[in-house]
C-alpha cells in the first residue's frame, strides 16, 4: 500500500483531467498525424503535430505538478511548457509546439509516436474511443472515473447526461 502524497480531490481532478480533458485528444491528433503522412498533407501534419505537442505538455503538467485549473486553450501550451521546464520531455513538446518545418514527414510522425509513448508512462494509458476495440473500454474507464469523482465530491470531467436538451 502506498499513500498518494496529495489531496484526494486534487489528485482525482488532475489525473482525471489529464486523461479525459487532454489525454483523450492525443490519439485523435496521432491519428491526424498518421493520416496526414499517408496522404502527404503537410499542413495538416504540422497542425496535428503541434496540437499533439501541446496536449502532451498539458497532460504532463497536470499529472506531474497537479496543477489546476487548466487555463484557456490559447495559453495552456505556454503555461504547461513553463511548468514542465527541466523535465526531459520539455524539449520534444516544445519542438512540436514551435512548429515543424524542414523535417521529413516520417520523422515528424516518429517524434510524435515516441512522445506519446513517453507521456503514457507518466499519465497512464490514454483512452482511445476512435478504434472499435478502444471504444467500450474507454466508456468503462470513463464510468470508473465518474464513480471516483462522485465518491470524493469533485466535478467529473465527463457529462452525466448524453441527451441534448430540447
Amino acid at each position: 500500500m502506498r499513500a498518494l502524497e496529495v489531496d484526494a480531490r486534487r489528485y482525482a481532478w488532475c489525473r482525471g483531467s489529464a486523461l479525459w480533458i487532454v489525454g483523450i485528444a492525443v490519439p485523435i491528433y496521432l491519428e491526424d498525424v498518421r493520416g496526414a503522412v499517408q496522404a502527404e498533407q503537410g499542413a495538416l501534419l504540422r497542425w496535428a503535430a503541434r496540437m499533439l505537442g501541446e496536449a502532451c505538455a498539458v497532460a504532463l503538467n497536470v499529472a506531474l505538478n497537479m496543477d489546476r485549473p487548466i487555463p484557456s486553450p490559447t495559453v495552456r501550451g505556454s503555461w504547461a511548457l513553463e511548468r514542465i521546464q527541466g523535465h526531459r520531455l520539455w524539449q520534444p513538446c516544445w519542438e512540436l509546439i514551435q512548429g515543424v518545418d524542414v523535417v521529413p514527414p516520417e520523422v515528424i510522425a516518429e517524434r510524435c509516436e515516441e512522445l506519446v509513448e513517453d507521456v503514457r508512462i507518466v499519465v497512464g494509458e490514454m483512452p482511445n474511443p476512435l478504434l472499435p476495440e478502444g471504444q467500450l473500454p474507454a466508456l468503462a474507464l470513463g464510468r470508473d472515473w465518474l464513480k471516483l469523482m462522485d465518491a470524493i465530491g469533485e466535478e467529473p470531467p465527463l457529462p452525466r447526461d448524453w441527451i441534448r436538451p430540447t
Binding site: 489531496d7 480531490r9 486534487r10 485528444a25 491519428e31 491526424d32 498518421r34 493520416g35 496526414a36 499517408q38 496522404a39 498533407q41 503537410g42 499542413a43 495538416l44 504540422r46 497542425w47 496535428a48 496540437m51 496543477d67 489546476r68 485549473p69 487548466i70 487555463p71 484557456s72 486553450p73 490559447t74 495559453v75 495552456r76 501550451g77 505556454s78 503555461w79 511548457l81 513553463e82 509546439i97 514551435q98 512548429g99 515543424v100 518545418d101 474511443p129 476512435l130 472499435p132 471504444q135 457529462p159 447526461d161 448524453w162 441527451i163 441534448r164 430540447t166
Partner: protein, 395 residues
C-alpha cells in the same frame, strides 16, 4: 529577424488578383468573388469511402438505419464531404427531419471495417433554433466569441456548416423556410474568428509586456490563423475545423498560404525575435481586416473578469490570493496585494478594464489568466458590417 521577411498581406492578395485596385481600406471586404469551393457530391463521397475503405454508401446507410425516424434525412458534412479528408478521416453524418424524436449531445460512433462513421441525430426544430440564435447574435453588437463553443468544442460551428453545406445522402432536402443557412453559417465563423483574432492579438501584446514571450508568440500565430480562418469563411468556403486551414490555403488560396507561411514556426530565440514576430503577425492581421489591434485601443474594450471567484485574504501582515473552487492559494507581495485589491473589488459584471491597469496589475492579471483563474471579457463584439459592408442576413 531580417527586415522584409514578412510579406505584405496586401501585396500577396493583389498578386493573386483578389483585391480591387482602389477604394479605401484594402482587406477582405474588397475580395473579389465568393464561394470558391462548394461541398462535393454524393458520388464523390461514395468513391472516397470505397477507395479508402472498400465500403459503399448503402452499407453505411444500412448500419445507421436504426437511428432514423420516419421522414428523417441523412446528410454528410466534414472533411470527407468537402474533399479534404484522408484514409483515416471519419465520415460525419447528421440525421434530421421534421419529426425526429430525440437529439443527441454527442455523436454516435459506428465502425464499418476501417471506416468510422460519426452520427449526430438532431431534430430539425433544434437545428433551426440554433440558426436563429446565431442569426440574432450576428445582428447584435455584443461579443459573440465563445458563446456557441470554443476552439476545443467546435460542435456548433460544425453543425451549422454541415447543414448549410450539406450533401444529402438519403431523404428529402432539409427545408428551413426563409432562413439563409449559408450566409448565417459563414457569417458566424467569420465573426467568431475575427473576434478570436482580436482576443489573440490582445493576449500576445499583454504577454509580451509582461515578459511572457512563449504565450506572446503562440497567440500571435493564433491571431494570424484566426484572421485567415475568418477570411476563408468570408469567401463562403465550408469550415470544418482549425486543422484544415493550412490544407485549404495550400489547395485553394495560395496567396493567403504565402501570408501564413512565415508564421508556421515560432522563433527559437524568443528573447531576440519574439517581439518582431508578434509585431509582424499583428500587422498582417490588421492589414487583412482593417481592424484596430494596437494594445492601447484593445485595452479600452476588454476587462479582466474574475470568473472563478478569486478572493483575497489578509492574515496579519501577509496577503493571500485564494481560488477556493480549485484549492489554489498564492502569496502576494505589497505591490501585488494592491493590484489584487482592485481586481477583487471590481464590479463582477464589469470586471477590471485593461486600460485602467497599471503595469503591476497588468502583469499580475496576465499571470492569473495564464493559470486559468481570470478570463477576458469584451465590452463589444466586432459587428459583421465592420468586417464586410456588403454582408446581409435575414435578421
Amino acid at each position: 529577424m531580417p527586415p522584409g521577411r514578412f510579406p505584405s498581406a496586401r501585396a500577396e492578395l493583389a498578386e493573386e488578383g483578389h483585391l480591387v485596385a482602389d477604394g479605401g481600406c484594402f482587406g477582405f471586404p474588397q475580395l473579389i468573388g465568393k464561394a470558391v469551393a462548394m461541398p462535393g457530391s454524393r458520388r464523390e463521397i461514395e468513391l472516397q469511402i470505397e477507395r479508402f475503405h472498400g465500403v459503399d454508401l448503402e452499407q453505411v446507410l444500412g448500419e445507421i438505419e436504426y437511428l432514423r425516424d420516419a421522414g428523417d434525412t441523412v446528410i454528410a458534412g466534414g472533411s470527407l464531404a468537402y474533399g479534404l479528408g484522408n484514409s483515416l478521416s471519419d465520415l460525419d453524418l447528421l440525421i434530421s427531419g421534421p419529426t425526429t424524436v430525440e437529439s443527441s449531445r454527442v455523436p454516435l460512433d459506428h465502425f464499418l471495417g476501417s471506416l468510422r462513421v460519426d452520427v449526430w441525430k438532431l431534430s430539425q426544430e433544434l437545428i433551426e433554433s440554433s440558426f436563429r440564435q446565431v442569426e440574432q447574435a450576428l445582428a447584435a453588437e455584443a461579443e459573440l466569441l465563445g458563446r456557441f463553443g470554443d476552439s476545443y468544442y467546435e460542435d456548433e460551428f460544425k453543425l451549422l456548416q454541415r447543414v448549410a453545406f450539406s450533401v444529402v445522402l438519403d431523404g428529402p432536402e432539409l427545408e428551413f423556410g426563409p432562413l439563409d443557412c449559408r450566409t448565417v453559417a459563414s457569417g458566424f465563423v467569420m465573426r467568431e474568428y475575427a473576434e478570436r483574432m482580436r482576443a489573440s492579438a490582445l493576449v500576445a501584446q499583454v504577454a509580451l509586456r509582461a515578459g511572457r514571450s512563449t504565450a506572446a508568440v503562440v497567440n500571435a500565430r493564433l491571431a494570424v490563423e484566426n484572421a485567415l480562418n475568418a477570411g476563408v469563411a468570408q469567401r463562403g468556403i465550408p469550415f470544418c475545423g482549425d486543422k484544415w486551414l493550412g490544407e485549404r490555403l495550400d489547395a485553394e488560396l495560395p496567396g493567403l498560404a504565402g501570408i501564413y507561411e512565415p508564421f508556421h514556426r515560432l522563433p527559437t530565440d524568443l528573447a531576440r525575435d519574439g517581439s518582431d514576430f508578434v509585431e509582424a503577425a499583428l500587422d498582417v492581421c490588421a492589414e487583412m481586416w482593417c481592424v484596430e489591434l494596437e494594445l492601447d485601443a484593445l485595452a479600452e474594450l476588454a476587462c479582466w473578469h474574475n470568473a472563478d471567484d478569486v478572493r483575497m485574504a489578509e492574515v496579519g501582515t501577509d496577503h493571500f490570493l485564494l481560488a477556493p473552487r480549485h484549492g489554489v492559494i498564492w502569496e502576494l507581495d505589497e505591490c501585488d496585494a494592491e493590484a489584487c485589491r482592485r481586481l477583487v473589488t471590481a464590479e463582477p459584471d464589469e470586471g477590471w478594464r485593461l486600460a485602467d491597469c497599471d503595469p503591476v496589475g497588468m502583469a499580475m492579471c496576465m499571470q492569473l489568466y495564464e493559470h486559468g483563474l481570470l478570463s477576458i471579457k469584451w465590452m463589444e463584439g466586432i459587428p459583421i458590417a465592420a468586417l464586410d459592408a456588403d454582408w446581409e442576413t435575414t435578421a
